[in-house]
Symmetry: C2
Subunit: 625 residues, 2 copies
């Protein structure tokens, strides 16, 4: 039952999905904007990740576990960082056939295998510290680490054909099946990810018990059974059962990882009620708990979703991992429903929520993605964006998570229709490269998101009538397909195709002003500027020292203009006009107390590119003049 | 050298202060607004505190330590809750002579004494858990607990004459003097309070070594020597030396407790440089890091001060204890400098920062004092104000801290001049009752802060010329003294006085609109309303279900009016006009997307009284129409 989809998400043929994904077997990203990002990921991020996992002790933990004794280093979930790196390596090998990575993959896989216990159990720190298994599952991340191992194993099998890690994963999963479930232990891991991982393992192996256990974990949650560990049930997504959840709450990464696992269960079981609950939950999140950047989680305390409309720019948490989970969840909802707005979400979160998490040079990371940093901000916690991006973290979840997301990016590009009467291929994300599926072989020319033109050239076409679909994002008002206006959603062309046929989609990238919903208190009186799918930010380095970003106002009577591309950053810029307002000394004056000073030229760069020249004051939302 | 000041703050005669405090020996609060609050504190809060300390295991920890073995309960600083209660009891006994409390004080004092070790060391949890002393001083709170013990001991001596706890405190302080300092251990406690406590013990006993050790602790800090314990140096106020600190940062309670101890050291040593540094730091805090309510600390993460102007209403932390520390620091700065703006700060923080922390009935507490709660807020952490006030907390610092603050409130009411040529008495806070100091015996009639009239009647007067000063708060524009206009600051009347003389101060309580500084992003486009020293809030219960507080706008073209006193709450109300704005569904629309609906009458209650009828949506800052 091995899938032919070389990607992290491969619903079975019998699953209740509207669309099926095309994996790396059918998508090649070459050049253009995303090609550059993937090249940096391959050349810098992943090799540095290998070094840093060794330096930080994660690999040593595996070696010690294989010996059965030794000191441990790092956080309780240290193993998972290794597994995420292995997943990144697998997709990268699939993408480029990198021989060094393949050797490293095999070396590390052997160490993971050696660390596994006889009965399949695998968690280096719990073992080495002599802790009883699963007794503190609320915080030990034993299932969480298992989940990332399984994901890496599936990636290794699908991406490289190696089965070394899959053998480990199957033994571990079989152990979990024996140990947990309705007729065994009812304990739940504090941090979801095992759910989606088990479904993928089911998809890879055909073993129904894995899907059953995933379904059990999804439905057992939400009953406040996870020990509190100084946290409340909502921190663990354990306050409300998934089917009754109307809005995500608590720790953002946990909430969205659980939701994606639930989506996997829903489509494999044809569980329409569960899927409907997830649609409601996603809609509530998008309407009231998501940053303009797609970022998720507005509270540092508990790394959590806030209340509806609680979306401060300065203390936005917007963890890079939460955006990654958001992308994964949205992609699952796209496949399940065929609703293109989920593909818009994938685009927004990838570009503005995930991509800011890594430097353009590829070696440094943001854990937290604030939408505002003040000029006199004090560095404190390593996660504080005022420190700039850092090479690694004590909790190093984000860096390898970004690596695996970029190396598997091709899997988000295209889909095929599950139940259509003719071959149908949909382009969901625009990358420069080629796509082959549903009988089509296409070359795609685009510099998206630096430019709105997408040229699709047919190299091979299926026999007879076939449908090519191109996503028109909701932001692309005025888009044209071969010169004809098209509405947001999926623009479909159904006809007979021949090699050499071309389709041109033009997505308007004119800069636009965005207002906040009246309920978002933190943004009142401010606007943001966007162009295409990109959210823009103003950095101190572009304003100069005499004009503090903190005192900037934008003049909406003046036009927004497209600036020249920034040579150093390689990104488009926008230009606007504004003023500096000088504030008074009294924190709470009896009357409005600010004086508009001279006009100032505003230059904005894409938010994902901020803090790549210098780290200073920055803001996405700018008060109006 | 025992002081004659029966209060928590008694600078020596030789200290470099402009003013000296009058303690409970000279101030009686009877009736009026504050008399009611103190009666509730005595009748409900303090007796319930006794019960809750027993139920929570704090007292059992002492008993186990006396036995030398047993399980421990509560947080590592559990002892300090007992000591704060003992301090509250001591001032209450001083105030009312309560016999039950005196018996309880002696019973508990005996248990504390029995728990002390031979060499003076005292910390029940460190001892009972078999931890080595002082090796984890960053988080064990060993000095912190010692500090609260010393404060309680000093209170017991000054307030009740008992010396049982003072004997314990002296033995503990002597042990600290032997163990810490420039020629001994350089370790520092993660949580300040020992500094101010040791200065008071010096003031009480005359032992200079206590002052020296306090000075050492103050100046040794700020050099990043405190082990990180997953926290950065600024969390511990350990990033910047006190003399170089320009603005408080990190954990708010720790920062202000350290600052008050530094102020004590500064005046006892005549250290003008240190005092100047504290003046700068206080000014920066007041200008950029203090809520309108006087509340301190804008971050849940680390219970910390934010960056300048980072003052969100919804996630305001504004811990009750931080406002208490703020009051204590401001009072020290008032004595040191004679600057009446510090007395304004005491007033603002007491009424709007400390008092909201306890229910009007006296049995429930807020740990966190948010300035906004949304209608659909989800209860999570016990500290979240959406839960309403609670009877006790796992970290129960706030309840007994409020108890001791209220029972010693008299000590903030009046001062005498240290270096004047004639007897001079200043009334700093307005309470109904009597004040006797500097040869004066005065009766004060007022219902402040429910009313702005203060009548002072002279019962006894000093021989010859003498000066009576009355503080005119900065908010009291248009104030009159015996019918004549007076400016903000200290209104002084120097003359010969006779029994029966009267002085009438009238402080205008007309409602007023307050704007936020242009830099406070979280408050842009909103205003607050105040009357007298009170900040007001709008609660859902006063708007009705059809008009969500979350959608409220205030119409500044309509007048603010004084409403009738709320019969249930016993507090004044304000009336205003506004509208409900219906927000659109899109979180980030391309244009302003809200529709003004019908007008609505706004009724506001003092912020300290919110959540005493029901717990629902509330906001202090209201967007303008």
């Amino acid at each position: 039952m091995t899938t032919t989809v070389s990607g992290p998400l491969a619903p079975t043929a019998g699953s209740a999905t509207m669309l099926h994904p095309v994996g790396l077997e059918g998508v090649a990203i070459r050049g253009g904007f995303w090609g550059e990002r993937l090249a940096v990921n391959a050349a810098t991020s992943i090799p540095q990740g290998w070094e840093r996992l060794h330096a930080a002790g994660n690999v040593a933990n595996l070696e010690a576990a294989a010996r059965g004794e030794g000191e441990t280093r790092g956080e309780i979930f240290a193993d998972s960082d290794v597994y995420k790196w292995l997943e990144a390596a697998a997709w990268e090998i699939a993408r480029t056939g990198d021989e060094v990575l393949l050797r490293q993959q095999r070396e590390l896989t052997a160490k993971v295998a050696a660390a596994q216990e006889e009965d399949g159990y695998l968690h280096t720190i719990v073992r080495l510290r002599g802790m009883p298994r699963y007794t503190e599952l609320g915080w030990t991340h034993e299932h969480y680490c298992a989940g990332h191992l399984i994901q890496a194993a599936v990636a290794q099998r699908r991406g490289t054909g190696d089965t070394g890690l899959l053998d480990v994963a199957v033994r571990l999963a079989d152990h979990l099946v024996r140990t947990f479930g309705p007729r065994a232990s009812h304990a739940l891991d504090g941090h979801p990810v095992i759910e989606t991982a088990l479904v993928e393992l089911f998809r890879e192996t055909g073993t129904a018990a894995y899907l059953d256990l995933a379904a059990w974990f999804v439905d057992a949650r939400g009953r406040s059974t996870i020990g509190d560990h100084a946290r409340d049930a909502n921190y663990f997504s354990d306050r409300v059962p998934v089917r009754e959840t109307t809005t995500p709450e608590g720790h953002a990464v946990r909430a969205v990882y659980l939701a994606e696992g639930a989506a996997d269960v829903a489509v494999e079981r044809g569980d329409a009620d569960l899927l409907a609950a997830l649609e409601r939950q996603f809609a509530a999140m998008a309407a009231t708990k998501q940053y303009l950047t797609g970022g998720l989680g507005s509270r540092w305390e508990g790394e959590a979703f806030g209340d509806p409309y609680e979306l401060p720019s300065d203390r936005a948490y917007a963890e890079s991992c939460a955006a990654i989970g958001g992308v994964q969840w949205a992609q699952r909802m796209l496949l399940a429903t065929g609703d293109e707005s989920y593909a818009d979400q994938v685009e927004r979160m990838l570009l503005n929520g995930v991509l800011p998490g890594v430097s353009l040079a590829g070696g440094e990371y943001f854990y937290v993605n604030a939408l505002q940093v003040r000029g006199d901000a004090v560095p404190d916690d390593d996660r504080n964006p005022v420190n700039g991006r850092l090479g690694w973290f004590q909790t190093a979840c984000c860096p390898p998570n970004i690596m695996r997301t970029l190396s598997s990016l091709g899997a988000y590009v295209a889909t095929t229709a599950s139940v259509d009467d003719v071959p149908a291929l949909q382009l969901q994300q625009y990358v420069h490269g080629s796509v082959a599926a549903a009988g089509f072989a296409l070359d795609v020319e685009t510099d998206h998101p630096r430019d709105g033109r997408v040229l699709v050239r047919v190299r091979e076409a299926p026999e007879g009538e076939a449908e090519l679909g191109l996503r028109v994002p909701a932001w692309a008002v005025g888009a044209t397909l071969d010169g004809e206006p098209v509405e947001a959603g999926l623009a479909r062309i159904r006809r007979t195709w021949a090699p050499g046929d071309e389709v041109e989609l033009v997505l308007p990238f004119a800069p636009r002003v965005v207002h906040p919903n009246d309920r978002i208190d933190a943004l009142r009186g401010s606007v943001a500027i966007e162009a295409g799918p990109l959210v823009y930010a103003v950095e101190q380095v572009d304003l100069g020292d005499g004009a503090p970003v903190d005192d900037l106002r934008i003049d909406l009577d003046e036009p927004l203009l497209v600036g020249e591309s920034d040579a150093r950053l390689g990104v488009p810029t926008l230009l606007a006009s504004g003023r500096i307002h000088r504030h008074g000394p009294d924190p709470y004056p009896g009357a409005v107390d600010a004086v508009a000073a001279g006009p100032v030229a505003i230059r904005a760069v894409p938010y994902f590119a901020w803090a790549n020249r210098s780290v200073g004051a920055m803001r996405v939302w700018i008060p109006t003049d």
